[in-house]
Assembly symmetry: C2
Homo-oligomer: 613 residues x 2
């Protein structure tokens, strides 16, 4: 089907193991992740019984199930993160600890392959009776951890456990077998991963079947206490190919679209493609915060109605921001359009990153865009999906930097360091980025192919950037060669070792306004510089009180990089409309000092445009 093929770019991700980040922004976070976040999460999983649940289910320990039915998934997610960390930094001690946990997981697996400690321990008779009980959600995270750990260590044990579990699913569910709608999507994308790791097509087919099960009345919707939230809560209201709008629980929705993108990568189903385009537009055009946050409501941890983006009460679950990365990363690879990498970037530097403290041991589950001073990161949650999602998101951040394209390489994210990318024909190109991104828009890219060879290098011109310049070996390119297409400037030439590209992105301070339909932001603006969204925090503005100040769109901001402040941030200093000093910091860095108010959207001084034109 030619039509479909031309719609799909079919790019490939460049694994983060091929991307060595060596910068002042991500490197310290990766260090903290390894030294603090991962050990902290493992310890919390131990302390809270999440790990011992496996030992109990495996009969190695006496006792009842502790915690919530989806707690297995947290262990799996930390294992996945640990596996990613091991891929770049061998750590025998950590590996021993993971192997110990894997033994417990293996022990907890029932003979038929079933694996979910809650049911095994609490209600073995009630398996597969409640779509909301996250049985396959847990299973999906097991698969992701297993694939990662296999890739990191070559050890098959956890992969075998997950294959056995997936085979068990396959034996129970599918065409001609039982119906099943999993309440919290995750298994679908995981099964595609398992298919890619093992080559077993039945996993991909099961993923497709699970997607197709939705929206036909097979599920029962979400019933919480006495309240029936209906099938839209878990995206079970319409068949996936008919999706028009983002609905329900934000993380579930994102995991669903991620799986759809994964599946369509192989199927090319035009109905899926259309649905993905529709729901992407509906998500970002009507339901996304400037931070990349999604899901305004605490009630359903998800979506409400279009343009409902309240700031103080914004829910914006950290997991949802991370899931937006997963989905948009896939969309970028599918369609070869930089606008999806723009969203990835927005999450990387704002919505997702805000979820973790600079110290690496405190987390936000909820990410409001305004606070009167009583919202703070904590060490752990009863439902601790967010810390464990960060634990797997951050160590793999390098995977978003590059993509293998049909004709060469796409540079999607700018970060100082080196990478190896395979190009068509199979040879490897080494790339080195020299940049202080995201604080500077100047990026030098050094190209080192195995031998002189013609291929394309695509440079993403971020959506926030209006003006840029590109030179290759100091020379301007042909005039029309620098016109971005789908957000990329594409340079095709015979590259030889020592070639360098200089990309300079205008990175001005920009006053951003929301769409007029967004009631919460009317009469307000926010400041953005490059990919970084700013906020006013009380620590920098002790003389001001919450919402007692307003700024002008014509305001002029001093841009200062402070290497010693908040792990190294570029701060903006200006004045409010009464001339009082006002300091702004990156949103992701808030709540790392003394408690106080915070605001992203600042009241805008009502003043006309100075000039008539």
């Amino acid at each position: 089907m030619t039509m479909i093929e031309t719609q799909l770019a079919g790019w490939q991700s460049v694994p983060f193991t091929k991307v060595a980040i060596d910068d002042a922004f991500w490197r310290p976070r990766l260090e903290v992740l390894k030294k603090i976040t991962l050990p902290t999460c493992l310890a919390k999983c131990e302390e809270t019984g999440r790990i011992t649940n496996f030992a109990k289910a495996g009969g190695l320990l006496e006792g009842k199930f502790e915690g919530i039915y989806f707690n297995d998934s947290d262990v799996y997610k930390v294992l996945e993160g640990a596996a990613y960390s091991l891929m770049t930094d061998r750590d025998p001690k950590l590996e021993v600890e993971i192997d110990r946990i894997i033994d417990l997981i293996s022990a907890a697996q029932e003979d038929d392959g079933y694996l979910c400690t809650y049911y095994t321990l609490e209600a073995p008779q009630s398996k597969w009776s409640d779509m909301e009980k996250h049985e396959m959600y847990n299973g999906g995270h097991l698969i992701e951890a297993a694939v990662a750990y296999y890739e990191a260590t070559g050890k098959r044990k956890l992969l075998d456990v997950s294959c056995k579990m997936a085979d068990h699913y396959d034996s129970l569910f599918g065409p001609g077998k039982r119906h099943w709608v999993e309440g919290h999507e995750e298994i679908e994308l995981a099964l595609v991963k398992l298919y890619r790791a093992t080559g077993e097509e039945r996993y991909w087919k099961l993923a497709l079947w699970l997607l197709e099960e939705r929206g036909h009345g097979h599920g029962r919707g979400m019933i919480w206490d006495k309240e029936d939230w209906g099938p839209a809560y878990c995206q079970d209201d319409v068949p996936v190919r008919d999706i028009e709008k983002v609905t329900g629980h934000a993380v579930r929705a994102m995991y669903l679209y991620t799986a759809m993108a994964d599946v369509v990568h192989a199927s090319g189903d035009p109905a899926y493609i259309d649905a993905l385009h529709r729901v992407w537009s509906h998500s970002v055009e009507r339901n996304m915060y400037v931070t990349g946050g999604i899901g305004p409501s605490r009630h359903n941890e998800g979506f409400t109605f279009d343009y409902d983006l309240p700031n103080e009460t914004a829910y914006c679950e950290t997991c949802a921001a991370i899931a937006m990365v997963f989905w948009n990363h896939r969309m970028n690879l599918l369609f070869g359009d930089a606008k999806y990498a723009d969203v990835v970037e927005r999450e990387m530097y704002n919505g997702a990153l805000a979820g973790i403290s600079l110290s690496g041991d405190k987390f936000f589950y909820v990410n409001p865009l305004a606070s009167r001073g009583d919202h703070h990161r904590v060490e752990w949650f009863e439902t601790s999906c967010c810390p464990t999602n960060l634990a797997r998101f951050l160590p793999s951040i390098g995977q978003y930097a590059y993509a293998q394209t049909e004709d060469g390489i796409a540079v999607n994210q700018y970060m100082n360091g080196e990478a190896s990318v395979v190009i068509p024909g199979g040879r490897t190109v080494k790339l080195a980025q020299n940049t202080a991104y995201p604080w500077s828009g100047r990026i030098e890219l050094m190209v080192e192919p195995e031998r002189a060879e013609e291929f394309a290098i695509r440079l993403r011109i971020p959506g926030w950037c209006r003006g840029f310049s590109v030179t290759v070996q100091g020379d301007l390119l042909q005039e029309t060669a620098v016109i971005p297409s789908k957000g990329y400037v594409t340079i095709v030439r015979s590259w030889t070792t020592g070639d360098s590209i200089m990309l300079e992105l205008d990175m001005p301070v920009e006053a951003v306004r929301a769409r007029p339909e967004v009631e919460a932001d009317r009469g307000r603006l926010t400041l953005q510089r490059g990919p970084v969204v700013y906020c006013a925090e009380q620590a920098d503005n002790p003389q001001l009180s919450y919402d007692d100040f307003e700024v002008s769109a014509r305001g002029q901001w001093s841009v200062r990089h402070m290497p010693e402040r908040l792990g190294g941030v570029t701060v903006l200093t200006g004045a409010d409309s009464q001339g009082r000093p006002l300091g702004l910091i990156p949103y992701y860095a808030w709540d790392n000092r003394e408690p106080g108010f915070m605001q992203v959207w600042l009241r805008e001084a009502e003043e006309g445009q100075l000039y008539s034109y």
Copy 2:
């Protein structure tokens, strides 16, 4: 009156003779001015009888008056420009030629001091019978030329002529003498110049009296053919202290406000101050084009109604743009506010500069913001005020760069080169700017005082600039010290030789929209980068036709400096909404190649904001 004193900053201009420009932008223009423009204008004045009119009036030559009654002024303006040129580049040959013309002018002066060759030759019996006949307008330009030539050469002859003429005015007009409203303002600002050059207070008083004469029914308004345009045409509708709105002929209005600013500098009259503030707001907020152009109508060479800013039929006389510089320069000195220097800059790089070809020998009188290909510069006009205004504006451009403030120095315009500025206490500070402005926002300022001394250096943060950074000797300043006040960052410290300031102004490509009230620009946008407004010209876009393309506010533009193109311009290359290549050049540089369409305001593709926030 304390109140008034605090309202006035009372800064002093730093003469352009103290400002050595050595850059790729202005320096070539100054060379062309000297080599081409001035000789061309002198030759045209000769050819067209403008110079021989003086010889005839002086009885040195037989013949009738040639041309229009205000033609004397063109000769004076070229002389003023020549004098400015001589101040920085001695040129004995030019000086001999000027002296010859001065002898003719002197000969043309009548015994009582009267000097206007039209009346002397054509209608001596009708002097002072028609406010529209530019007698004092001519006289004002004589004064400006005389003061300039005296300052350039020390030769008094023309200054004496102008004093004798001014004394003659003073003998006829003033309190208890005849009423007079000069139809085209100019004499008022010139008399203030003469007062400053000679110290004779009566010239200042006469200027004040002439201003106060307006708006009391002493004039007769403008009658053109059979049409009575009423007194607002020449700003004679209300007393100057009651002015609310800019009205009538644009150049006249600007010269009036310039004179008011000059007079209030000494008088401090709060009614004038209020009137100036009111009319400035009304001018720039409702009646100024993005190029700085003013006066949309060909009919009255001036203003019509608020927000009437048509593009194709824009009149925007070059002289009016230059006059905006004169007025705003005074306003900056009066009030110490950078917003006036912003307007000066807008004219310098757009509205005023467009008036002259890169070759220096062709001129626009009319500066539309859109053309279908039939509007071109020509060598001369019957009414040739614009070429001769450029001849005096350009060689003195350096005067806008710096101001002496009450506590040091204000840097108003950025241009590579050196300057000497006197600071309070009388010592001189040498300044050197190292910059590629207006193509780059990076400016290094080297400071060399006579001896280590504390004073203030104010750096203008242009109104178009939202973000900037300042370091002194490589160090960040105290955090709140960089908050701009009245558009300036002020650095007070003990400066010593070798101190340097690094100022980096964000200079992004910016999509600019007009106020919604401006009907002509609805659904359109224009591109600006730094102070430079861009346009689409056919020469760069042979594949497009007039208005057959539209652009997106989200468009991404490649920024390329082309030293060989159009005298060295930074061009923008992007795509229209259909993906066709679109090249933009600075507005001032248009019509220097093959004829074709031009548009400043480009049709905007109707598309929503991509994101909801």
